[in-house]
Symmetry: C2
Subunit: 293 residues, 2 copies
């Protein structure tokens, strides 16, 4: 398939904070969009600019050459792809399906298999970079699946992201995203425990950030979320409950593969405490509250 704005119809399912920005970039580049999302009002800007609404993911698939999904949980992914009348069942012959949700590697492999049985290719292509990365088309995109399909849809990925890497066969994108989230988990633990320590020891935590933010301890998260932690700004860039989902996927996959992730488990216990405190809709930087309770 040669993907161009003139010849290719794109279906987009799931227009939350991330999906809306991503679909917008495709539309701005001239691609005809067919869309579905749970809350129709989320699609309004795209519809106003010419996108076509459908009443189900399957209907979107029946009208698109490439179908992109960006939903919430693995259960949602399974439903939109594999339910009767869903995306796989309704996909056009030769279509390419791309799930950009952070989901389970094994589910990605199952979808690719079900798609292949229908003569359709499926990629898993979760992203990192959050709402800002989506808005600025600077997402990191980690892809698993067929290489030809990857090459075909690369022009679409390039409209949404900057760092786009084919990591391996179906599921490899999700596995890579799990690696990403494992790193994030450790970095969040370290940043949070350090700032809790700084406060308890009577230091000026912002001055501490000046000392530690540029050397061996430097991380994107320390420097971007550290100041928010200290300001008590817990507005979500990335939801606590989505992060808990991601940690759960990593732990489950590790168990399946026969090894342990004690760091991730330590962080998960703290985040679960945070949910008990009523903070599931906070941003992940709210972790500091679980230490100060």
């Amino acid at each position: 398939m040669t993907v161009t704005a003139d010849s290719t119809t794109v279906g987009f399912v799931g227009l939350g904070i991330m999906g809306r920005s991503m679909a917008g970039h495709l539309q701005a580049a001239g691609y005809a969009l067919h869309v579905y999302t749970r809350t129709r009002s989320s699609a309004q800007d795209l519809l106003d600019a010419g996108a076509v609404w459908h009443d189900s993911p399957g209907e979107v698939a029946a009208n698109a050459d490439v179908v992109i999904t960006m939903v919430g949980y693995p259960a949602d992914v399974e439903q939109v792809y594999l339910e009767p009348g869903g995306i796989v069942e309704r996909a056009r012959s030769g279509a390419i399906l791309i799930d950009m949700t952070t989901s389970e590697p094994s589910l990605a492999a199952r979808i690719a298999e079900a798609a292949a049985a229908k003569g359709v290719k499926a990629l898993d292509a979760p992203v990192s970079g959050g709402d800002v990365g989506a808005r600025e088309a600077r997402l990191s995109i980690m892809v698993g699946g067929d290489e030809d399909a990857f090459d075909d849809v690369l022009p679409l990925f390039e409209l949404m992201g900057k760092n786009i890497v084919l990591q391996g066969p179906a599921g490899a994108g999700q596995h890579t995203k799990a690696c990403n989230q494992i790193v994030v988990t450790g970095n969040m633990l370290g940043a949070t425990e350090a700032l809790v320590y700084a406060r308890r020891a009577g230091l000026d935590p912002k001055r501490v950030l000046e000392s530690i933010g540029a050397g061996a301890a430097a991380s994107f998260l320390l420097n971007n979320l550290g100041p928010k932690m200290l300001d008590g700004d817990f507005a979500p860039g990335f939801f606590v409950h989505h992060f808990i989902k991601d940690m759960g996927i990593a732990i489950a996959e590790a168990e399946r593969l026969g090894f342990d992730l004690p760091g991730v488990k330590t962080a998960l216990a703290k985040y679960e405490k945070l949910v008990d405190m009523g903070c599931r809709e906070d941003g992940t930087q709210a972790l500091i509250k679980a230490y100060e309770d």
Copy 2:
């Protein structure tokens, strides 16, 4: 005190990998050095260039306006400063003492108190940046103690480092270094568990680093030590046993202050396993071996 190369004699105690580089910068700037270190051969380059050898830390102190120490453990710090005939006892009136070892905040406060009783000022000024930072005079220097003393010796710090911040009273430098090491601990956990996961999941871990090294998961350690982990290059930039010391200090201080550091404790358990495996002299990136055993 006005510190200049013409008027100020500097004592330097502890000429390991770090201390040797740091003292060399002072000597290169024209400062007369008086030195002591446990293994005399470590001082040879400095002696060849004109430094004066003494047979004890106390002797060094008796001959210097500013005394800098860079030794191994808090027990060493306590000994060189507080033993009979040690630095505090032999220090010249008006001298400034600077411990740059990573050590205990409470010990730093005790040394400052003992020094003050003799009319001498003491700063704690641990560093971050490792052997490379020491060699390239790019250390981050975190200082606790008297502000006038800090201002006086700033010209010396500026010969050794780039990011030099007075964090508060005696002990605040050590507390800040503890914060730094807490962040490092989390970042090491995250980087290591992610790369272990990448291997176990059958990914190409170097390609995974391409995807995750530049986004939300980016950290100095992931990008600098990650490739070494994967190459099996465990040569020490920073020793496992020194890192264990630092984690022990952070945990002990947190207990004293009444809070918990579960992330640091999780990492410490893994590093203790590494010591049991005979890896105490490896670099901290050897953590990956504790997961693969």
